[in-house]
Symmetry: C2
Subunit: 420 residues, 2 copies
């Protein structure tokens, strides 16, 4: 029976098969120096003719190009060989670009990367955005224009853009909700507003969700299956990757740990600044207030909020032996541990990454948190500090834009779990 | 270039393709009456010849069989037609069987199902297991023997067994840890201990994890992507399906909500019975103690613990207007709401299902919980009562055993996300 079935009868499926093979070769080529077909065959586990077919398709699509043994051009080394030089294939990383943008209450960071995910250029603007949403949008547009100009990349060569923002991003409308840190931002439709000046898809995502994507891509959580990123600054939120996938929640509201009630406090609506119960207890403002007095505040910087500077001063004072400051650090560590214990008991993640301004206090703070966590949980959780600092969100946006490009090029293959 | 690639050169991949097609036809056949090839073609989106090929393979493998228009045998109706009757194919649901077993502190429930997932027979044994693990194991073995005997199914026709147990199941050793409700159970290797008397793989899983699988398969959460099942009885635990997949956690310890500290209580080790802070506040024992006095307890039943009977009595008294009882119900609803709010803020699930003995209090309890949740969360969560009662774990075990059979028959296809 199986002999009766010819190629014409399994329409559609061999195309999927070719796409799976293409995706494997695509993945094996990207981010690596030029390779021979034999190497690609070993790396993908595909036969050499199958690799050759996939390479042909990728070259035709503009994703890959041939090069001789020594690089792009025919060189002396190549010519001195007897016979034809071995044919090498490489990914055309600069065939296109992606943009990752972080829009925050006191900074805009735009990162331009090539299709290998290599950062080509960055542009940062520190500011306190207290005005209208339009003002912020204008600043974002200007930042993009400046960045592309400096990098000499044409607007039409940007294939995908992802933007991180505070607040909840409503799918599918794309409207931003609940972003009290950016006045005038509520209800804004970022994808539409920025899409007009760009010529490619614009994806909008919560900033902490992008930060966890970045830590798993290039940060401290590479290869970790279930990781929670806790953004700890004036406010507190978490981004969740569960079983290798971003978990947004039913209404895009997963990870709202700042609103955890773990000490018998009043309900979430009672704070004028819109801070949640846990944020009020461990946010940057609570740290300096726990210290009782304000130790000498460091020089004001545009990229820091006053309460974050106060918190930094408290941590610095604790390191130099200030008893009140050390007590305050221990108090917030204990309170945060209570909040984290809920997260650990519920999810039992492989790793928790602490990021945001307060996490700059470093390992001593982490140790204090570990001590207070011990009686609250069953396992010794893996706690780590973010290594991407305040570029995590923009880098996560870059990864998201790259994923979008992949999905458009290889729509079926991207769904297969064995591909990154 | 693509013409140069013959079938021999893409070794392995066409087999995958055939497997994908087989899996689609398998899924379309199972649990349905006999179908024509044309119907299967429409249902699967595959061409008729591809369907015919897949059916041939499934028939050869013993999974499907041909039948004429009216059923298995050539009948009068079939013969009266002009020409050949249309060929029908059906899934051989009784080609094999699976067993789902729930082992609890006061019952053993074994459910035998065919490959369609249809329940063929059940056997239940109510008991208080206070002795050794070996005693429980002997009771389980006897229950299986009785069940298979009554159903006249041979031991070798059982293709897969899944077992639900309290406690944490250590992967890959399969040892059970932390199951204080079953004395003598700690460290037991269930798969090995039961495997000797069976002739198929035995899978061991936490009971609440199986309950959430069951609610999503045949209960109140069919088609729901992210669902949390809260088991509420003498103890409290949760099973999580996140993005259509069971989430066990790094050490198999996800969902331990009974240990949430949400009111400023002491650490988790301080309770002699091993109850967690939330369990101490809202578990069955806490309900009767909140009511102050013990209303008339219903007649003792072997399948209920005394504290669960007390809780039932409190709920019954509340319904008939007992003020103290009504106050107690509201108190525990408020406390549980605090615990649930942590779960809702962190995960933002599509649905929360309440099961276990206490949930038998029904909609009035659910309404009280909703009222107390409102000020603690941002969204109106979907709360539902379990519809599978205390058979949820055993049914989840049946589904797990069926999944195991599928994985062994169609190892690659089962990984594809578009297949159930």
């Amino acid at each position: 029976m199986s002999k009766e079935v010819g190629p014409a009868e399994v329409t559609g499926s061999p195309a999927l098969l070719r796409e799976i093979n293409c995706a494997k070769v695509f993945t094996a080529l990207r981010g690596r120096p030029p390779q021979r077909l034999t190497e690609l065959s070993v790396r993908t586990g595909l036969s050499r003719p199958t690799v050759a077919q996939a390479v042909t398709q990728l070259v035709e699509g503009g994703w890959a190009e041939y090069a001789d043994e020594a690089g792009t051009d025919q060189t002396a080394a190549g010519r001195s060989r007897i016979g034809r030089p071995a044919r090498l294939v490489r990914f055309r990383g600069r065939a296109g670009y992606v943009l990752g943008i972080d829009i925050g209450p006191h900074k805009i960071l735009a990162v331009l990367a090539d299709l290998n995910g290599e950062v080509v250029a960055k542009r940062r603007r520190d500011d306190q955005f207290a005005g209208s949403g339009e003002e912020v949008l204008a600043a974002v547009r200007q930042t993009i224009t400046d960045l592309l100009g400096a990098a000499r990349v044409r607007r039409e060569d940007v294939w995908s853009v992802a933007v991180g923002t505070p607040g909840i991003v409503d799918k599918p409308s794309g409207a931003v909700r609940m972003a009290p840190s950016l006045p005038g931002w509520h209800g804004i439709r970022l994808a539409g507003a920025l899409g007009r000046s760009l010529r490619c898809p614009v994806h909008v995502e919560n900033d902490v969700n992008l930060a966890v994507i970045a830590e798993r891509w290039r940060g401290v959580a590479v290869g970790v299956h279930t990781v929670v990123f806790v953004q700890w600054g004036a406010r507190i939120g978490a981004g969740l990757i569960i079983g290798d996938r971003l978990h947004r929640g039913s209404g895009g509201m997963a990870g709202e740990i700042g609103y955890l009630s773990v000490f018998g406090e009043p309900d979430i609506a009672s704070d004028e600044a819109g801070l949640g119960p846990l944020e009020r207890l461990v946010g940057a403002a609570a740290i300096s207030s726990a210290a009782g007095s304000r130790p000498g505040r460091p020089a004001l910087r545009a990229d820091r909020r006053p309460e974050e500077l106060d918190a930094e001063a408290v941590f610095a004072a604790a390191r130099t032996g200030d008893v009140a400051a050390a007590g305050a650090v221990d108090t917030v560590a204990q309170r945060l541990a209570r909040g984290l214990s809920a997260l650990l008991l519920l999810l039992d993640p492989d790793m928790v990454v602490l990021g945001g301004g307060v996490s700059a206090a470093g390992e001593p703070l982490l140790d204090a948190i570990r001590t207070h966590l011990r009686p609250l949980t069953f396992t010794e959780p893996v706690l780590a500090l973010s290594v991407l600092g305040d570029e995590a969100t923009a880098l996560g946006a870059v990864r998201t834009a790259l994923s979008d490009v992949e999905r458009r090029v290889l729509p079926h293959a991207a769904q297969l779990p064995d591909l990154p």
